[in-house]
């Protein structure tokens, strides 16, 4: 083992020469210019940590996991090297501002949401590829990474691992599927420290020291660590509520998503208009420019756009006049109809309200958070349905070794856990924002108008 990196979360992480070679490439160094939490620093000023630090952290966790798995699975040195590299490279394909830019094809513009006229959804149009596919392109086509990995065949192997293709290495397949959420073990604790909130402080060392690998390669924790595992699940839930879905961050990111989608539709300000253009960037010399600054430049340029809506959105982001929350309707557990009613009222009344306020309807932003559950799949299932899951789906759930069983079972199946009882509960928020650009009168009038839209 060669160089030592000191990480703020995991302490000393020893790198192999090959890992050092990968980290030293320009393609990997790009991750220094991607903030882990996108626009989260708007709310939490300290949250400026990067995908680079997170990727090193995941390597650190993978190193500990492979130490445990090596003996249990009889892993060869090459397999250990590959899985460590997959951990290191798993985020190399992230877009500027990460998930924000990646999903702009899925954004519904406000004027397409409101009204009752039929709207055509054009599913024949080309869409951006997801960051893992982009990651595969970078790893298999960027010369510096290819050279560091020793060629195309090896690069493809590593990409298959972080993309979780079973064909990559059948013996490692289950390990990858049940372990790449080691990703979460790093980001929860890294994000909580950077943001300065307590919600993601999980018992990392106890969890890792309690990891076991079954003979078939599935990772789980020992029964004694059930509380730590439940805490981990709840920490994730609270971090989403407090940080990832924070109303201010969520509002400015929604404004940015809608801005980028508008610019993409208008082919303006350098937003790639197709996945082909994205592919050209990430496989060519321009990769190094595909950073948060790429989007910052778009926002800057768009502040002078001729389109009133684009201009307003860009100015709001540029000047940190974050969109103001007009109303939020939260659902937890069974749907009570309030959210559906609120959405319907927004759909049918926002155009008229915008006209009354004298603003473009696009300055209203209606958005919903992703349904949030304490267990990834648990929130979509009752306990009976959870038992019907097959391998592909079950592999994504957290596992625990109970008794003398050779294979771990899902945490939601353990009756003594909170997740067994709360696993099917979901938190979900409908949010309506207004881009007021420093005009508080607009916010007051909008809040008055929508106050009873959920009753």
């Amino acid at each position: 083992m060669g160089k030592l990196i000191v990480d703020s979360i995991h302490g000393d992480i020893r790198l192999t020469d090959e890992e050092r070679g990968v980290i030293d490439t320009a393609s990997f160094q790009r991750l220094r210019s991607l903030k882990q939490l996108g626009m989260g620093q708007v709310t939490y000023p300290g949250a400026t940590h990067t995908r680079f630090a997170h990727s090193i952290g995941v390597l650190g966790i993978m190193a500990r996991v492979t130490d445990i798995a090596r003996e249990a699975l009889g892993l060869k040195d090459d397999q250990v090297k590959n899985i460590r590299l997959a951990g290191l490279l798993h985020d190399i394909g992230h877009y500027p501002y990460s998930h924000l830019m990646e999903v702009i094809d899925n954004v519904i513009l406000t004027e397409d949401f409101v009204g009752s006229d039929p709207k055509t959804l054009d599913a024949s149009k080309d869409k951006y590829q997801d960051h893992e596919e982009i990651g595969e392109l970078i790893v298999t086509q960027q010369g510096d990474i290819l050279a560091a990995l020793g060629g195309e065949q090896r690069a493809k192997q590593i990409a298959d691992l972080f993309r979780r293709n079973e064909t990559a290495d059948p013996q490692l397949s289950k390990l990858i599927h049940s372990s790449l959420d080691m990703d979460r073990l790093d980001y929860l604790i890294r994000d909580t420290k950077a943001a300065g909130v307590p919600y993601g402080q999980i018992d990392l060392n106890y969890l890792i020291n309690s990891l076991r690998v079954s003979k078939s390669g599935v990772i789980g924790v020992e029964r004694k660590a059930i509380t730590a595992l439940e805490h981990f699940a709840l920490a994730r839930f609270f971090m989403h509520k407090a940080v990832y879905f924070h109303k201010t961050t969520f509002g400015i990111e929604e404004a940015c998503r809608q801005l980028l989608r508008r610019c993409k539709n208008a082919a303006s300000h350098g937003v790639p208009i197709s996945s082909r253009e994205v592919r050209e960037i990430v496989t060519g010399e321009a990769l190094g420019t595909f950073t948060d600054a790429f989007v910052d430049r778009i926002i800057q340029n768009a502040t002078a756009d001729r389109d009133e809506c684009i201009r307003s959105l860009a100015q709001s982001i540029q000047n940190r006049r974050t969109p103001k929350l007009v109303k939020q309707v939260v659902e937890l557990g069974a749907e009570d109809g309030k959210g559906r009613l609120f959405k319907s009222e927004c759909k049918h009344q926002l155009s008229e309200l915008a006209a009354r306020l004298g603003i473009h309807v696009g300055r209203f932003l209606y958005a919903t958070t992703k349904p949030l559950a304490v267990e990834k799949r648990g929130g979509r299932l009752d306990v009976r349905a959870a038992r019907d899951l097959e391998s592909e789906e079950r592999d994504e759930l957290m596992k625990v070794f109970i008794g003398e069983n050779d294979e771990p079972i899902s945490l939601v199946d353990v009756p003594e856990t909170l997740l067994h009882h709360l696993g099917s509960q979901r938190w979900f928020a409908h949010r309506l924002y207004i881009v007021d650009n420093g005009n508080p009168e607009l916010v007051v009038r909008a809040r008055e108008a929508v106050a009873k839209w959920d009753t």
Binding site: D105, N106, V107, I108, F113, G115, S116, D117, P118, K119, T120, L121, D122, A123, S124, K125, D126, K127, Y128, Q129, D130, E132, E133, R163, R164, N165, E166, T167, S173, H177, E335, R340, K343, K347, Y366, A367, T368, P371, R377, R380, L381, A385, D388, L389, E390, S391, E392, E393, E396, F428
Partner: protein
């Protein structure tokens, strides 16, 4: 609001299949159906990787469960003409065959989607059915040569290969 989930719901409606996710066979049928319609040109942009039962997308699983709990309202949306025509072209492939049980349909679609994936992403030559059968077996899928020959022909019939 999410254009991809709306597109998914509209495409399933156009194909005349429900978004039932209550058992594994139904979910497997949906996974392979969406893989095939994506490859035919309805670009929902779900990323698929090879897993235990062929092409599989965790993101699609998440959205299918969300759709089943009725979170996405598709009232007021229609699918574009090209995508509708793609859905109609694939309907014979996706629809139930006479007296076909869900498990049998799941197996049939698993074979179709797996052959297509191996052909497009792993370079397996579908002109050689024996080789394709062997490749499937290497990847843990045991279909006989006659099933593979018939499946390749069905993919050809709808211009998927």
């Amino acid at each position: 609001m999410d254009e991809r989930r709306i597109g998914l719901a509209l495409a399933l409606r156009e194909l005349g299949i429900s978004g039932d996710v209550s058992d594994f066979a139904s979910r497997l049928i949906l996974q392979k159906t969406v893989y095939l319609i994506e490859e035919a040109g309805i670009k929902l942009s779900y990323p698929f990787n090879w897993y235990l039962r062929g092409p599989y997308s965790p993101a699609l699983t998440r959205d299918l469960f969300d759709l089943a709990s009725n979170r996405e309202d598709i009232d007021g949306w229609v699918l574009d003409e090209h995508s509708r025509s793609v859905a109609q072209r694939l309907r014979p492939l996706i629809s139930d065959e006479p007296d076909e049980e869900p498990a049998a349909k799941a197996r049939r679609l698993e074979l179709l989607a797996s052959l297509h994936y191996l052909s497009r992403r792993r370079g397996v030559d579908l002109r050689d059915a024996e080789q394709a059968t062997a490749q499937l077996a290497l990847n843990g899928k045991h279909f006989n040569n006659a099933e593979v020959v018939a499946a390749i022909q069905r993919l050809r019939d709808v211009d998927l290969v």
